[in-house]
Symmetry: C2
Subunit: 148 residues, 2 copies
DNA sequence: TGACAAAGTTAGTTACAGCTAACTATATTA
DNA sequence: TAATATAGTTAGCTGTAACTAACTTTGTCA
C-alpha cells in the first residue's frame, strides 16, 4: 500500500498550520507578519516554523516568497480547525462556557484530543439538537441544574 | 494579602507531580525509578525534573534522599489528578469511550483545560446521573443514537 | 565486611520553541 | 530612480525536556 504515514506534528506546528489555513481562507495570502500577529509570536519565530513545515513537506515556502499549504499540510490544518470548532461549539452550546473562555480552551485542547473523543463530542452536539427538536431540552435543563 | 501566587507549571512537571502523588498514595515512598517507569522516561530525566520541582518549592528532595511533595506541590498534584478523573469519567461514562483510550486522552487533556470547563464537565456528569434517577437516561439514549 | 547489583546522579548531546538584535530584501513613493 | 519604510531572515542566546553513557552512592547478602 501507498498510505503516507501521518507524521507527528507538535502542538506548536499545528498552531502555525491552523493560522496559515485561517489567513489564506480570509485573505488569499498568508504573510509572515500576519502569522506572527495571529499567534502572538515574533517574525523570527515564524521563519523558523516555516522552515520546519517545509522540511516536513507540510507547507510550500521559499525565503521572501509566498506561503501555501501543501496537500498534507492542508489536511492536517483542516483537521485541527475541525477539532477546534467542535470543541468550541461543545463548550459554548452544551457546557454553557463564555465564548472567550471557550475559544482559549479549544485552542489548547485541540492538540490534546484524538479523533474518537472529538467525533463523540460532535455526536453529542447533534444528539442534544435532535432531542431538543423532539421536545426534550437537555441543555436547557442542564443550565438550570447548574444554577443551584 | 499573603496569597502565594499560583506559579505556572509546565505540562511535563504536572506529570511528575501527578506521578509522585499517585506513587506515594500507593506505596508511601516515590522512588526515582518508579517515577521513571510510570512516566516512561529515563532515570536521568527524573533527576532533572526533581531538581526543578525543588527549585519551585513544589517537592522536597535531596540527592539520594526521599521525595515528598511540599504543600503547594501536593495541592497542584491533587488538582491535576482531579482533572484527570473528571475527564476520564466523562469520556467513559458519558461519551462511551473505551477505558484505555479515555485514560490516554485524559492524560493529555488534563494539562490543557481550565477550572471552568472541568467544573462544568463534573456538573454534567452529575446532571446525567440525576436525570437517570428521575427516569430519563440521557446516556443510554445517546449511545443508542450513536449506533446508527 | 567487602563485593556487587541496583538506584541515582552527572555530563554532555539533541531537538524544539521562543526571543532580540542586526542584517537583507522588497516595495512604496516622492 | 533613489531613499526609505516595511517585511523577512539570520545569527546567536535562553530555557525546557528528553536521551545515553559513565560515574557514584546505597543497600544487600554471602
Amino acid at each position: 500500500m501507498t498510505a503516507t504515514k501521518k507524521q507527528n506534528i507538535s502542538a506548536s506546528l499545528e498552531d502555525y498550520l491552523e493560522a496559515i489555513f485561517n489567513l489564506t481562507a480570509e485573505s488569499k495570502t498568508a504573510r509572515s507578519k500576519d502569522i506572527a500577529k495571529s499567534l502572538g509570536v515574533s517574525r523570527a519565530s515564524v521563519t523558523g516554523a516555516l522552515r520546519l513545515l517545509k522540511e516536513k513537506k507540510l507547507a510550500n515556502y521559499e525565503p521572501y516568497g509566498f506561503v501555501t499549504l501543501a496537500k498534507s499540510g492542508r489536511a492536517a490544518a483542516a483537521e485541527v480547525v475541525k477539532k477546534h470548532n467542535i470543541l468550541k461549539t461543545f463548550f459554548v452550546n452544551v457546557l454553557g462556557i463564555e465564548i472567550e473562555t471557550a475559544q482559549k480552551a479549544a485552542c489548547r485542547a485541540e492538540h490534546a484530543l484524538g479523533a474518537k473523543v472529538i467525533s463523540q463530542l460532535l455526536n453529542f452536539i447533534e444528539f442534544t439538537a435532535k432531542e431538543n427538536k423532539n421536545g426534550y431540552d437537555i441543555v436547557g435543563k442542564f443550565w438550570k441544574f447548574c444554577e443551584k
